[in-house]
């Protein structure tokens, strides 16, 4: 059976008639000459009139099958096989680090045959791409799941948290998680709550440019993150990513205060309202803000890797229909985080619906779409009305962190009072007590 990946309709017919499949060398006659090339798969989203041939020069060309006069297979298909260089030998004596793959750009590799970006085949691929890691640590790697980060769900947070908790028991001195950038901040927050008091550093890292590109930021992010995990006296959950647009430094962000703030730049991640936790530059780690001493946290470490699907996040906007709230309630939302304007405001018709939401047994929390600064419901009447309606102001917690925290809280208590108390308690550095200059 021939592989006809991506081809359909007219082109599929054409290839079948020629008994050709992907990988076969096909010779076709156009009205301007004969073209010989290897049939490569078609993007599923592309039209059904062109066959794509990879020429000897490496170029791909698309030819309209309705204009081709003849086609014959001149050489049989050859399945390309990928055999990366083996991961370098581990050096005994170096810190033991676990590298966990979850998918995303950092772990993807282009299929040179199709041009599609595919997830790395296994974790050793990743390690083999950056052999320098073996100079820094004894790295074991493992692929936990392989999905784009927009498909990450609470169940993935739970799986990841459990695996990391096990790594502590296995004696790893640090864990580095590769993850897609899009929802990296959410996962970092989730792990921060599930792994409170973890005695080792857990660093989530990512890439904005896939690792098949010579310019990929994956290399520096991996080297920097593994270096920090192996050598810095820190514990807790962090995000490690490019400090700026240069391949020079990796910034370490606290897991509950980090946000992807640019769609495509390497330095997309920013710490909001707190200083960077650390910077790795010129091979050295500079600690800036490492939180409470790790001994304290070690004593407290009791992983709670459970999450609920009952938390929702709603951004308020001037034309928002208030009916969104009852509709979310009906579809199972138990805790609603509302990203209000300014100090945490919504329109008065929405306040009425918040009151109803709370009276029906739901929990409503306020954050601000300003991103920077804390909400305050005591300054304006609108705020006081919100408090009266039962809204919980979440200080300067990031909206994304708030919805993740709500998901974790809902899974870890059944008491509404306890849930409210937990939402308002600073469990993992998600709130600050003072807003500092700078």
């Amino acid at each position: 059976m021939k592989d006809l990946a991506g081809y359909r309709g007219r082109t599929l017919e054409f290839l079948r008639r020629a008994s050709a499949g992907v990988g076969d060398v096909l010779e076709v006659k156009t009205d301007w000459g004969t073209v010989t090339g290897t049939v490569v798969p078609r993007y599923a989203s592309a039209d059904d009139s062109h066959v794509v041939l990879k020429l000897k020069t490496g170029y791909n060309v698309g030819l309209d099958v309705s204009r081709l006069r003849g086609a014959k297979v001149v050489a049989a298909g050859e399945k390309p096989s990928f055999s990366p260089s083996p991961a370098p030998k581990a050096r005994p004596g170096l810190p033991k680090i676990l590298l966990l793959g979850t998918g995303g750009t950092i772990a993807s590799r282009v299929d040179y045959r199709t041009g599609a970006v595919h997830p790395a085949v296994d974790s050793s691929d990743l390690h083999a791409l950056v052999p320098e890691l073996s100079e820094i640590a004894m790295v074991d790697s493992e692929i936990l799941f392989n999905i784009l980060s927009e498909n990450v769900k609470p169940l993935h947070w739970a799986k990841l948290a459990s695996r990391i908790a096990k790594a502590v028991a296995q004696g790893y001195e640090g864990v580095v998680v590769t993850h897609g950038t899009d929802t990296l901040g959410y996962t970092a927050a989730a792990l921060s709550f599930a792994l409170q008091g973890i005695p080792i550093p857990v660093i989530l890292t990512a890439a904005q440019r896939s690792s098949d590109r010579p310019s990929s930021d994956a290399t520096l992010n991996l080297i920097g993150s593994v270096s920090i995990a192996a050598s810095a006296d820190i514990s807790g959950v962090y995000v490690g990513a490019h400090l700026d647009e240069s391949d020079r430094g990796v910034a370490l962000h606290a897991g509950t205060r980090v946000r992807k703030n640019h769609t495509s730049r390497r330095d997309a991640f920013l710490s909001v309202g707190v200083p960077l936790a650390a910077v790795w530059e010129d091979g050295k780690v500079r600690l800036i803000d490492d939180g409470p001493p790790s001994e304290v946290r070690k004593a407290l470490f009791r992983p709670k890797p459970k999450f609920s699907n009952g938390a929702s996040l709603l951004k308020f906007y001037p034309s928002m229909p208030p009916s969104l709230l009852p509709s979310l309630r009906r579809s199972g939302t138990k805790c609603l985080v509302i990203e209000g304007t300014g100090l945490g405001h919504v329109s008065s018709d929405v306040i009425i619906e918040i009151g109803r939401f709370v009276r029906s047994g739901g929990m409503a929390c306020m954050t601000s779409q300003c991103i920077n600064g804390k909400v305050d419901l005591d300054v304006y009447d609108t705020g006081r009305d919100l408090l009266n309606a039962g809204a919980i102001p979440l200080e300067d917690m990031l909206s994304e962190t708030a919805v993740v925290k709500a998901s974790w809280v809902l899974a870890n208590t059944r008491s509404a009072e306890e849930a409210r108390r937990m939402m308002l308690t600073n469990l993992a550095g998600e709130m600050t007590s003072r807003r500092l200059p700078g």
Partner: protein, 639 residues
């Protein structure tokens, strides 16, 4: 065989021509040369594994040089796309159309759907580590001196960043040129003389310009040459900037390759096998006699010795003047940022004594027929350089190794890196496929301008230019302005063409600076001639005055040179005066006095009046003088 023919010489020409598009190929940045770059960032490129897990040799070479790249950029010419911080946008319709016009002008076949590819290039000249490129068409031909030269492919591609220098820490690039749209036309290899290859390049440039959609001016066209001799590998020479260097580079490369083949022949004659080894010799001898080596060691560097069996005497041997295997090895070392090498064929000349040589030979276990090459520098770099020199010398029996070389300004070539492997191209998934329906192709064919041969014919027929002047005009950047002025002004087209394309190079040789004769100045001058403010004969003096800084505008120059145009009455009275004072000459020579009188007048007029006017007035006045009765003339004088 024609004189200058090189038997077995094959040259494949690739011309890279910048298009005159409003923006870069994959973003909305304007195309402009930036002088001041306010921002910079530093990156490292790594070789990426191909689909088989293998690494490209050229990519590994660049990575082994291990220097980060420093990119300078400015908002006036670059955005996040250039910095590889944002995905590219799709190719503009206009640029695709231009590509199709070139295909039509060359009679090439066009693909139905173009796919933008990533061609791995990790010398730092692309921030991404690859060049985006799409092949549009194949086949077609052009005629050159009566010979048909086939077209291999027509490709749309983005230009690379501009290399601005290299220091100890990094290689420095400016991003203003990165992403500028280019069209690459690759021709079938041709045989013949270097001059013929030069003509091929010239004529292809003319075909490209005939579309009216390509950029003009210095640096907008660049030639790469794939040069080989019978029995040798293909050498790719990159970046021949000037057309007149094509023939020179081909001739240089042919001689170089021939010389390397001679070395290989000698090796075969010796029955020698070349085997290389590298050993560190930093502390084996004191290096006191060699400034290069003692300096390197003094700065904390090391000295590696490459031993190459069978090559003794062949590193310094010159089969042709200037061409030595030793020079090839030195170029390889230089490509690894090392100052140079010292080899055993020149030890005495370079301060290594016989005793030192003996010590080195003994330490390295090198017999008499073995050549030694000393490579010195910063330890890591010296090690990589020595390994590269060893690999190069082992290729000596092959004669000409496949490699990529760069063209120098003098038409020579220097080693850059090994030839890239075949597997270095994969699809650019961020850019949509480009469908090229037949209607688009026929529309492009309709908008292709006049073939260049027809334009040149039109210049000779309608504007009465000589073929030579017409060709010079076509090849210059001034053809469009010539056509506009020739239609608008009353000045003779040949005068316009001559002032635009002949006068500036002539005055340049005299030392008049180029910017004093820019197009705007020349147009101003032609308009002044047209309005009668100045005579065409004064043009060189005006440009000289501008060049010397005596004036800022043409009008000022006219004033400063007292060149303001003489009116007809002024010329007339001048003629009158001269004729009267030359009565003796006139009475003796009659009509033939015209020529000496004309000469005298023109030197007095010094470009302030048109020669034709002076000549007409003088003829009229002379006729009257000759017709007039002599008596009346004298009586008039008595009054």
């Amino acid at each position: 065989m024609m004189p200058g023919d090189r038997p077995g010489l094959l040259v494949g020409l690739e011309v890279h021509q910048q298009l005159s598009a409003p923006t870069k190929l994959f973003c909305n940045c304007p195309i402009t040369k930036t002088e001041e770059f306010p921002f910079s960032f530093e990156r490292r490129l790594r070789p990426a594994q191909s689909e088989t897990g293998r690494l490209d040799p050229a990519a590994v070479f660049e990575f082994s040089r291990d220097k980060p790249n420093l990119y300078l950029w400015s908002p006036e010419s670059s955005c996040l796309v250039d910095a590889d911080e944002e995905p590219p946008r799709q190719v503009s319709r206009e640029v695709v159309e231009t590509g199709l016009m070139v295909a039509a002008a060359l009679g090439s076949g066009v693909v139905d759907e173009a796919h933008v590819m990533r061609k791995i290039v990790i010398d730092g000249s692309n921030t991404t580590g690859f060049q985006r490129t799409a092949v549009l068409g194949f086949g077609g031909s052009l005629m050159v001196d009566g010979t048909k030269v086939g077209v291999q492919s027509i490709t749309l591609e983005e230009d690379a960043a501009r290399i601005m220098g290299e220091d100890e820490r990094s290689r420095i690039f400016g991003l203003d040129r990165l992403g500028v749209p280019l069209i690459e036309v690759a021709l079938d290899p041709v045989s013949g003389t270097p001059e013929f290859v030069g003509h091929v390049a010239l004529n292809l440039g003319r075909v490209l310009r005939s579309t009216g959609r390509v950029a003009r001016g210095l640096g907008t066209i660049r030639q790469d040459l794939n040069i080989s001799l019978d029995g040798g590998a293909v050498v790719e020479v990159k970046g021949v900037q000037k057309l007149n260097l094509v023939a020179k580079v081909v001739a240089y490369e042919a001689s170089r390759q021939r010389a390397l083949m001679e070395v290989a022949k000698k090796l075969v004659g010796r029955g020698a096998k070349v085997k290389c080894a590298v050993k560190e010799v930093t502390r084996i001898v004191p290096w006191g006699g060699s400034e290069v080596l003692s300096k390197a060691v003094g700065e904390g560097g090391k000295v590696d010795c490459v031993t190459a069996t069978g090559l003794s005497g062949l590193l310094g041997w010159e089969p042709a003047p200037g061409f030595r295997l030793g020079r090839e090895a030195a170029e390889v070392a230089r490509a690894h940022s090392l100052g140079g090498i010292v080899h055993s064929d020149e030890f005495r000349k370079r301060g290594i004594s016989e005793g030192e040589e003996r010590a080195l030979r003994e330490y390295c276990g090198a017999a008499e027929d073995t050549a030694l090459v000393l490579v010195a520098g910063e330890p890591d770099r010296a090690e990589r350089g020595a390994a590269a020199v060893a690999s190069r010398l082992e290729l000596a029996p092959d004669g000409v190794p496949a490699e990529t070389r760069g063209a120098t300004r003098d038409g020579e070539t220097v080693y850059m890196r090994p030839r890239p492997g075949a597997q270095r191209m994969y699809p650019e998934t961020d850019v949509p496929l480009i469908t090229l329906p037949k209607e688009l192709l026929s529309a492009a064919a309709d908008s292709v301008g006049e073939p260049w041969e027809d334009t040149v014919k039109r210049y000779t027929n309608s504007f009465r230019l000589s073929r030579d002047l017409a060709l010079r005009l076509y090849d210059s950047d001034s053809a469009p302005v010539f056509e506009a002025l020739a239609r608008e002004l009353m000045v003779e087209p040949s005068v316009i063409a001559s002032i635009l394309v002949e006068m500036p190079p002539r005055l340049l040789r005299e030392g008049v600076p180029e910017d004093a004769m820019n197009e705007a100045r020349l147009v101003e001058l032609l308009r002044a001639i047209d309005s009668g403010a100045v005579a065409k004969e004064a043009a060189p003096d005006i440009l000289r005055a501008l060049g010397a800084g005596k004036a800022k505008t043409v009008a000022e120059a006219v004033g400063s040179l007292e060149l303001s145009r003489m009116g007809e009455s002024e010329v007339s009275s001048l003629v009158d005066r001269l004729v009267r004072s030359s009565s003796k000459l006139i009475s003796e020579r009659r009509e033939s006095a015209l020529s000496p009188l004309m000469g005298e007048l023109m030197s007095e007029v010094r470009g302030r009046a048109d020669g034709a006017l002076v000549s007409r007035l003088l003829k009229e006045r002379l006729e009257r003088a000759l017709k007039a009765p002599r008596g009346r003339q004298s009586s008039k004088a008595l009054r």
